[in-house]
Amino acid sequence: MFRVARQLFRFRGLLGTLTARELKARYRGSVLGFLWSLANPLLLLAVYSFVFGVLFRPARSQGIGDGPYALFIVSGLFPWVWLSTSALEGSMSLIANSGLIRKAVFPAELLPMVVVLSNLVHLLLAMPVVLSAVLAMSLLTHTVGGPGVVMLPLVLLLHLPMVAGLALGASALTVHFKDVRDLLANLLTLLFFLTPILYSLDFFSGGQNRGMQLMGWVVRLNPFTPFTRAYQDVLFFGRAPEGLLWAQMALVSLVFWAAGAWLFDRLRETLVEAA
């Protein structure tokens, strides 16, 4: 797992170049070009505001306060999109570039990493949209936002190894089993609903129903939950996440990175033969 990290550091210049290339290639041939990175989150926010603000107002919104529900959703949703897109695109990254791996001496770990980083850039470009909306809402006397937002870079930095570990592991496994991609797509859909993105964790507290309590524990044990809560803390509530949450994030990130990098390293020699 140290080898993966070493390689990424050694080829950091190339990693940057390839990420820039990926971003450029994505918007090649579109009229708005890079503006889509701003337009996409803006449109998504508009859709959610319309659905949850106008079409139907959810009855239960415990733990969200009086802030707009759509804003609560996107503060957890955008990071989730980063994670799930990185995992899915990352899983195919080695196969899509098999020519590079088989016919040239190429540090393969760069390929899933490029996916992770280019999607991180998309997330970062969505942040101004979310932050402006939060600022606008707080000016409209909603109780959203606050100084805790300065913690955002720290949360992102802590989240990065987890996303990278996931993409690395998935990419190496997919070379041997194309099934990983489909499995992952379905698993991520399930996990999306088991992560408190569309609802708050408080949704489960105080309920007498055994089933609800059980679900509450499943959601709490979901490794994606601490990150989602941290993003909601810093973006939506504008408060610093509590110490336990930091510890959970650090632990989850370390485990995911270690597992992903270990898996990649173990499968490294087989990639040239099987990709």
Binding site: L100, A104, V105, F177, R266, E269, V272
Partner: protein
């Protein structure tokens, strides 16, 4: 080139050392994938728990050392393990057993331009490709003009490479790889692509590279190229090391075996044809048996051989060596009108030389039973290449008894590495220079 700052510690004298190398590939059996994965994850090896019969042996028992500054060639048929060996030395594959040490900066040309991204410009690809090969952005920027000039693609650098022709792809790929200034260059059959002018430029560049004391490992089917560039040659056969020798000896041995194999195949095909021909001949004495052989068979050629100076059957000659063409003929009944002829041509059908007994003034009297006809050419000075031989026995008016086209083929190699040149004939020759003409390198 020998800037002490760029190489603070002198590189060891041994550039590549390969010891007891073995590489197995796992046969891909359906339903075997989980077992494969388990073995990889548990043992960290694709072939750890592999039974011998489930494996494909790509290479086994390979041992050699390449000294710094040496040009080392690898020859062998398809599937002999040449490319696997190169990928192992490049570090792309992990050996199943044995050890490989390579010292110095390595650049591998396996498929030129393999790392190019089709959507982006040639210019950006140069930077990415250079970075993949281990150069920093600044180093590439410094060499950029040189790379473009060498590739000869000055006008196309801003164009996405998907619009490049395959030749342009290769040219840019070679230009980047050679300009990374490697200590050890691994080349896999890439010089065959691209036009001839560029191929020559590449070879010249590689010669300069060697002159600077760098190390080359060249895998190629072009035996002339290997003979021209390399100091020693490894012949691989079915993943095993047949021999390591001077290029002349290794390539001669290799060619001899290829020729023997071909002769066997040729003979087998001929036997088959003759078997078919006999039945046809029974029906009509004038029927031909295949496009390469025709005639009435009043006289029949029963064997054709090429003998070397020692009188041994040999289908591989060195230019200037003695050669004897031997034809065995049998007349069905006594003949009073007969001519023996022989012609040498290139595989493309260019006649090199042909003659017959009639042209040279032999007036036939009688020929009966079996006979052996020999045509000896002392010091046959053919240029390096492949040749075919047509033999015939016919009447003086040209009516064929047995005309046998491409009855045998043989190869000729240059007598010395210095003997270059193109064409089919190498006259005795020497150069002379007067005036202020100087040459670098050793005197001839």
């Amino acid at each position: 080139m020998s800037d002490p700052l760029s190489h603070p510690a002198p590189l060891p004298e041994t550039a590549i050392h390969v010891e007891g190398l073995e590489k197995l590939y796992r046969r891909t059996l359906p339903g075997d994938r989980l077992r494969t994965l388990k073995s990889v994850l548990v043992e960290g090896s694709l072939t750890g728990n592999l039974r011998r019969e489930d494996a494909i042996v790509a290479l086994t028992g390979i041992d050699f050392t390449v000294a710094r500054g040496e040009a080392f060639g690898v020859v062998g048929g398809n599937g002999s393990g040449k490319s696997t060996l190169l990928k192992l030395i490049a570090g792309m594959l992990k050996p199943t057993a044995g050890r490989i040490t390579v010292s110095g900066r390595v650049a591998a040309m396996i498929e030129l331009g393999a790392g190019f991204h089709p959507e982006i410009s040639g210019r950006e690809n140069v930077f990415i490709n250079g970075a993949v090969l281990g150069l920093s952005k600044r180093e590439i920027a410094r060499r950029y003009d040189e790379i473009v000039e060498f590739s000869g693609l000055g006008g196309f650098m801003e164009e996405p490479v998907k619009n490049y022709s395959s030749g342009m792809y290769v040219r840019l790929g070679f230009a980047v790889a050679i300009h990374t200034d490697p200590d050890v260059l691994l080349v896999d059959e890439v010089l065959a692509v691209g036009d001839e002018a560029f191929a020559h430029r590449c070879i010249r560049r590689i010669e300069e590279f060697l002159a600077a004391g760098r190390t080359l490992l060249l895998v190629s089917h072009s035996l002339d190229l290997v003979a021209g560039l390399c100091d020693r040659v490894l012949w691989l056969e079915n993943g095993k090391q047949r021999l390591i020798e001077s290029p002349r000896r290794a390539i001669d041995a290799y060619r001899q075996e290829v020729a023997e194999t071909e002769a066997e195949e040729h003979q087998a095909a001929k036997d088959q044809r003759d078997a078919a021909g006999d039945s046809a001949a029974a029906a009509s004495t004038t029927a031909s048996s295949g496009a390469d052989r025709w005639g009435s068979r009043e006289a029949e050629i029963t064997a054709v051989r090429l003998l070397n100076a020692a009188g041994a059957e040999h289908y591989h000659l060195q230019s200037g060596e003695d050669a004897t063409f031997e034809i065995e003929v049998r007349a069905a009944a006594a003949l009073a009108d007969f001519v023996f002829g022989i012609a040498i041509a290139t595989p493309r059908g260019i006649e090199v030389w042909g003659t017959n007994t009639d042209l040279e003034g032999y007036v036939p009297a009688s020929f009966a039973g079996a006979a052996t006809v020999r045509l000896t050419c002392p010091a046959l000075r053919l240029a390096a290449g492949e040749y075919t031989v047509d033999v015939a026995v016919h009447a003086r008016d040209g009516a064929p008894y047995d005309y046998h086209r491409r009855a045998l083929s043989f190869t000729v190699t240059a007598a010395t590495a210095r003997q270059g040149g193109v064409g089919v004939y190498v006259p005795e020759h020497r150069w002379g220079f007067t005036g202020d003409v100087r040459w670098t390198g050793e005197e001839i």
